[in-house]
């Protein structure tokens, strides 16, 4: 049924159609509306056969999801930002135990300085925890990916993280076509665990493994991700056949035929990128784009094929690996094996809007081979340089956020160096 609803509500309805049996959640912006919606559905009976557990922390949320999945229940949770970091140990455990938990990540920046807005720092911090990571471009896809995620997770015995841009998608009202319960039931069979922890017949899972077998366990974790490169597109194709629309998959090229410059990105910014690509093409410039639907496993071969003809690749990414550049570009370089230069554009950090105007400037520089290896889109250079000048020669440790705010809002933020007070 086609509805005009908030992205979070669309996701909540899609998740409910997947018949989760345990939902555990701890609220953190911007994912809160999803679990609130699910909580309301459990309470009023629209989602039956599901236990909704309020936990004391994100670490508790993932721990309960692990216990539920090991006990034979289809388990779901959601988090964002520092919430993901707080549950990090359990996130690794869920993957190591092969438990098919599905978790929504309402992508948000990580402090300090504290920032509630969108970027991909959280997802990138745990990109190698052994979870499949899928990225949604629209709220339609955000809803669809959850239905696919339970299938993928249970087919592979591997947890899946559905990454959804915080606020930009979670809080946006747009049209979402939600399937019927019968359609989802046909697509997603009940969860069938290999074993169920049961207090009546106690035994342990997650045994200690020493040096004699740990490498083999990790090898098999890698092999599972390699297998996922086949399962993710297969499930996407089955989804399209069953529901009549394309969603998910590994990579989605857009107007890459003959493109000299190809922009690669994750998530909702691909919508804006497509508008920019259309404008560039209309102006006679050979630009295309590739939206990466699965970041883990990373689709090396598929991306290599999608970027085969490109003279240069611009990775527009909402994360920063300080001292290196961006996680996306690093991975794309591995896919391209030196075939074409891969340029990193760090954009949208902490919710800074990524605009068509800003991207047009990047593409103009790229077309003249004048784009640096690493660019910070729309960087306020005077503020940065003023700070660097001020900091030069000092040997004081401490936060810089207040200094930058003071530069932007003179007179509103005071920072007094304790050392200078003593002087």
């Amino acid at each position: 049924m086609l509805k005009q609803i908030e992205g979070s509500q669309g996701m909540a309805e899609a998740i409910a159609l997947c018949r989760p049996q345990v939902i555990c959640a701890y609220p953190i912006t911007p994912q809160t509306h999803i679990v609130e919606g699910l909580g309301a559905m459990v309470k009023d009976g629209r989602l039956s056969g599901c236990e909704y557990i309020n936990v004391e922390s994100e670490f508790g949320a993932m721990s309960v999801a692990i216990g539920a999945a090991a006990g034979g229940a289809r388990a779901y949770t959601a988090t964002a930002s520092q919430g993901l970091l707080f549950m990090a140990e359990a996130v690794y455990n869920a993957a190591g135990l092969g438990l098919p938990i599905v978790m929504t990540l309402g992508n948000r920046a990580i402090g300090a300085p504290i920032n509630i807005w969108n970027d991909h720092s959280d997802a990138m911090a745990l990109k190698d925890a052994g979870w499949i990571q899928l990225y949604a471009e629209t709220n339609q896809e955000a809803a669809d990916l959850h239905i696919q995620a339970f299938r993928i997770a249970e087919d592979l015995s591997c947890p899946v993280m559905v990454c959804v841009d915080g606020f930009i998608l979670t809080h946006a009202f747009e049209r979402v076509d939600l399937p019927t319960q019968a359609q989802v039931d046909d697509f997603l069979p009940p969860y069938r665990p290999v074993q169920r922890l049961n207090p009546a017949t106690p035994y342990s899972i997650g045994a200690m493994v020493g040096p004699e077998a740990f490498t083999e366990v990790r090898y098999l974790a890698h092999q599972k991700m390699v297998d996922a490169l086949d399962v993710i597109p297969r499930v996407a194709a089955e989804f399209e056949a069953a529901f009549g629309r394309a969603s998910g998959g590994l990579v989605r090229p857009y107007r890459t035929e003959g493109a000299e410059t190809v922009v690669v990105a994750l998530g909702s910014v691909n919508g804006t990128i497509k508008d920019v690509v259309d404008a560039e093409r209309a102006a006679g410039r050979a630009v295309g784009s590739v939206s990466i639907g699965a970041f883990r496993p990373f689709p090396l071969a598929e991306l290599n094929a999608a970027l085969a003809g490109a003279r240069r690749v611009v990775c527009l990414e909402k994360n920063l690996a300080p001292g290196l550049g961006g996680a996306l570009a690093s991975n794309v370089r591995m896919a391209l094996r030196g075939q074409a230069p891969v340029l990193t554009v760090i954009a949208g950090l902490g919710g800074r809007p990524i605009t068509r105007a800003g991207m047009a400037g990047v593409l103009a520089a790229a077309a003249q081979d004048a784009l640096d290896d690493l660019t910070f889109l729309d960087l306020n250079r005077p503020v940065v340089e003023a700070h660097l000048l001020r900091a030069a020669g000092l040997r004081e440790s401490g936060p810089i956020a207040e200094n930058l705010l003071k530069a932007l809002n003179p007179g509103r933020v005071e920072r007094v160096s304790p050392r200078r007070v003593q002087e």
Binding site: Q4, E6, T29, P30, I116, W117, N118, T138, G166, F167, I168, H171, A172, F173, E174, R175, S268, V269, G271, T272, K274, D275, G351, P353, I354, T355, R356
Partner: protein, 189 residues
């Protein structure tokens, strides 16, 4: 594509207004995208929200920088926020106020826009009468429908009633209806 930016204060239903506008446009068969100025807004703090309406799929995710219409829920924002930024020359401006554009000190803005594209609507007063609280957003949606014709009154009323059940929905719908009539009357003068 028609782009609307709404400015108000936390608690005035600025975000809800954009969402309801998108639901009304969707109900009329169009594509619509509504989203808030992402932030940790508090009651009384300046808040903005956005609504795009188009015949085709809306892929763009940047904030609205050149709106076709502005809805100002609280004119005291004129002193603290550049609410008029980017307003198109053929754009619309709807202000919640009992005063005139000249009395509000925005005669220069009004002069730049086409005749009939600048209106003040006593939306808080209308809301106070119908809802019992000065929540101007439903009345402003009714006024917006009358002023621009971008969405119809019926779709606005349906969106309001779908969002707010029972007496609350009826009261908000009545406020929108009165605002629509008042604006239609003002346009005849």
């Amino acid at each position: 594509m028609f782009e609307v930016r709404l400015h108000g204060r936390g608690g005035q239903g600025v975000v809800t207004a954009a969402e309801l506008m998108s639901v009304a446009a969707f109900d009329e068969g169009r594509h619509a995208q509504a989203f808030p100025s992402f932030g940790s807004e508090r009651t009384g703090a300046p808040v903005a929200s956005f609504c795009r309406i188009a015949e085709a799929e809306i892929r763009l995710r940047e904030p609205i920088v050149a709106p076709d219409a502005l809805i100002i829920q609280d004119p005291t924002l004129f002193h603290s926020v550049d609410v008029f930024a980017g307003l198109k020359d053929a754009g619309y401006l709807l202000v919640n106020s009992v005063r005139t554009p000249a009395a509000l000190g925005i005669a220069d803005i009004a002069a730049r826009l086409p005749p009939g594209h600048v209106r003040c609507l006593p939306a808080s007063d209308i809301a106070q009468r119908h809802i019992g609280r000065p929540l101007p957003n439903a009345a402003l949606l009714g006024g917006f429908a009358a002023m621009t014709g971008v969405v119809g009154l019926d779709a606005v009323l349906k969106a309001i009633r779908a969002r707010f059940a029972g007496a609350t929905g009826a009261a908000n719908a009545a406020a929108a209806r009165e605002a629509f009539a008042a604006m239609t009357e003002a346009a005849r003068c």
